[in-house]
């Protein structure tokens, strides 16, 4: 590398030093450093875990993120409010509709509009459908990370029916971009409710299959029971949320405890918790939540009120100056948008609190003194989506 000026030289040295910090591999007397990722089958994406090993035992592990940083918080500052939704549903790409909702709710709060009831109902249904689409894949993926190949195919197979329903109403399988400030883009097509019930039946039988194939399997239990135990207070202090927190015995669910704009108070449902806090508990809680989501949707489908789906909003949306933070219970955990508006067409600043990013912060704590195979099962049970970490 030819270095001309002094400032370039300094910049080069600084970049080399920055690389060296993460690339250094300490071969101590006690063990070796194992680099899981950024290209590794278990990290489903480009997460990198640097683990110092003693034999097969992990002495210390550090997650290194940012290999897929896409700068969404900055991008939103140069997009108008309707344009933002199409960006942010790429954050957690498996449950994308759920990403749009908190942002739209925050914007609605600033504009002081409220979506009509029919829109709220459909929003909640789609929200829960995307939860199923997301968690369903977790159920298969967790099994594949501990070595069973078949469950993930069942997950993809039955998730297809849920995605079909999402596509039928929003037009997009992965990136619906269906939520609008003040309501929804369109209403449900004819026959959708009946078809959705069919898809829910499919999901319920999928949950039963998972229970027989994975959850009840003694090998799976041996691999996950008492592995990666996170006590409730530790989970809270690391800012865990969602099913990871509930699996540690903390009975906290934004849908029930801090619900904004969605109609969870209209249905009869239950928040599942598990006292153990191990990998098995996390799988168990998510399995129960998938069933519960089916139950919620089932009840909501029968009670959709009639009416408009769009409140009165101006054609060109200018959000009044102000700040709002809205969080929802996304498939991966608490997802919140802190929107600061200065009264322009675009948000002044958006801070995205994504669930996986906070959930990953516990890895150095929980990956201490485990075996290498357990790194994989613990990471899988914490369930992160790389887009949700790096944004």
């Amino acid at each position: 590398m030819s270095v001309s000026t002094e400032s370039e030289q300094l910049a080069y040295i600084a970049s080399q030093a920055a690389d060296a910090r993460v690339n250094v591999e300490v071969e101590t007397d006690e063990g070796m450093t194992l680099n899981l990722g950024p290209q590794h089958p278990a990290t489903h994406g480009t997460l990198r875990i640097v683990a110092k090993l003693d034999g097969e035992k992990v002495v210390a592990a550090e997650p290194i993120m940012g290999y897929m940083h896409r700068g969404y918080e900055k991008l939103t500052e140069v997009r108008t409010y309707p344009q933002v939704t199409t960006l942010i549903n790429r954050i957690d790409w498996l449950g994308s509709f759920a990403n749009e909702v908190p942002f739209i709710l925050a914007a609605e709060q600033l504009m002081e509009v409220e979506a009509p009831p029919r829109a709220q109902w459909i929003r909640t249904i789609l929200f829960e459908l995307s939860r199923i689409a997301n968690v369903c894949l977790f159920l298969g993926d967790m099994a594949v990370q501990v070595g069973a190949t078949t469950p993930v195919f069942y997950a993809f197979r039955d998730r297809e029916f849920v995605l079909n329903q999402i596509e039928r109403v929003t037009g997009g399988r992965f990136h619906p971009n269906f939520d609008r400030i003040g309501g929804l883009k369109d209403d449900l097509p004819k026959g959708w409710i009946e078809e959705t019930r069919g898809a829910l039946d499919r999901m319920k039988s999928f949950c039963d299959e998972m229970e027989e194939l994975v959850l009840g399997n003694e090998i799976f239990q041996a691999r996950t029971r008492n592995i990666g135990v996170i006590p409730g207070d530790i989970a809270l202090s690391y800012g865990l949320s969602g099913a990871n927190l509930r699996a540690s015995g903390v009975d906290w669910d934004i849908r029930r405890d801090a619900n904004v704009g969605l109609v969870y108070d209209q249905v009869d449902w239950k928040v599942w918790t598990h006292p153990d806090g191990d990998s098995f508990a996390r799988f168990w809680v998510r399995l129960q939540e998938t069933r519960e989501a089916c139950n919620i949707i089932d009840q909501l489908l029968g009670t959709i009120p009639s009416g408009p789906i769009m409140a009165k909003v101006p054609r060109i949306i200018k959000v009044p100056a102000g700040e709002a933070y809205v969080a929802t219970e996304n498939p991966l955990g608490e997802m919140g948008y802190y929107v600061v508006s200065k009264g322009d067409l675009t948000p002044f600043r958006v801070k995205i609190r994504s669930a996986s990013f906070s959930n990953m912060s516990i890895t150095p704590w929980v990956l201490k003194d485990v075996f290498v195979p357990d790194i994989i099962s613990i990471l899988a049970s914490l369930y992160f989506i790389l887009g949700d970490i790096d944004r």
Binding site: R79, T80, P82, Q83, T85, T86, L87, R118, T150, Y154, R157, E160, N164, E167, R168, V169, T170, G171, G172, R173, H175, N177, K185, D186, D187, L188, P189, K190, G191, W192, I193, E209, E212, L213, V214, G216, N217, E218, I219, Q221, I304, P305, S306, G307, P308, I309
Partner: protein, 178 residues
């Protein structure tokens, strides 16, 4: 030996699925027909039919477009290129003044940039843009992903009618201009 049941249950599930896939007619009609039992389809031979709302590719109804640039301006990644000019059209009624209309010179969408968000279709005030569920438009070269207005106009034939709405809706079913 309390270990056995869970393991055997798993074996049962996989075996049952295999039988279901192999003999979709049930065991009473043991004729192997995996192509019916499997949930996958052999794509190039069998095509999936996406729902009417599916966002496959954007079609342009050229006659309705007034080159108003709304779609190009609202597009989050600026992948629509429009050029137009004003020209005089013959008057509607005999003896009237010639009208000024916007003629479209260029309407290109770069599908290598497009995020398929559908904002352009939504903001179009003149019903000129439509989604079609057609999805086979991949090209060997990136540059060929830039569809001009003729190509976009061809997609117009594949645009399905808008679906009826579910009961209780107050939305009006729109018509696709043919």
């Amino acid at each position: 030996m309390s270990q056995l049941p869970g393991i055997l249950k798993g074996l049962k599930v996989t075996f049952r699925t295999m039988i279901k896939t192999l003999f979709p007619g049930g065991l009473l009609k043991p004729i192997p027909k995996p192509s019916e039992g499997a949930l996958t389809v052999q794509y190039p031979h069998v095509k999936e039919a996406p729902p009417a709302r599916a966002r496959g590719v954007i079609a342009l109804h050229e006659g309705n477009c007034t080159a108003c640039m709304l779609c190009a301006r609202e597009c989050p990644d600026w992948c629509i290129y429009i050029e137009g000019h004003k020209e005089l059209a013959p008057p509607r009624r005999e003896g009237g003044k010639p009208r000024q209309v916007n003629a479209l010179d260029r309407f290109d969408i770069d599908f290598s940039l497009c995020m398929f968000c559908g904002i352009c279709v939504e903001v179009c005030p003149f019903d000129a843009l439509f989604w079609t569920p057609e999805y086979e438009f991949s090209e060997l070269k990136l540059a060929d992903m830039l569809h001009d207005k003729e190509r976009l106009g061809e997609w117009m034939e594949t645009v399905p009618d808008f679906e009826e709405y579910e009961d209780g809706s107050e939305q009006k079913v729109r018509k696709v201009p043919r």
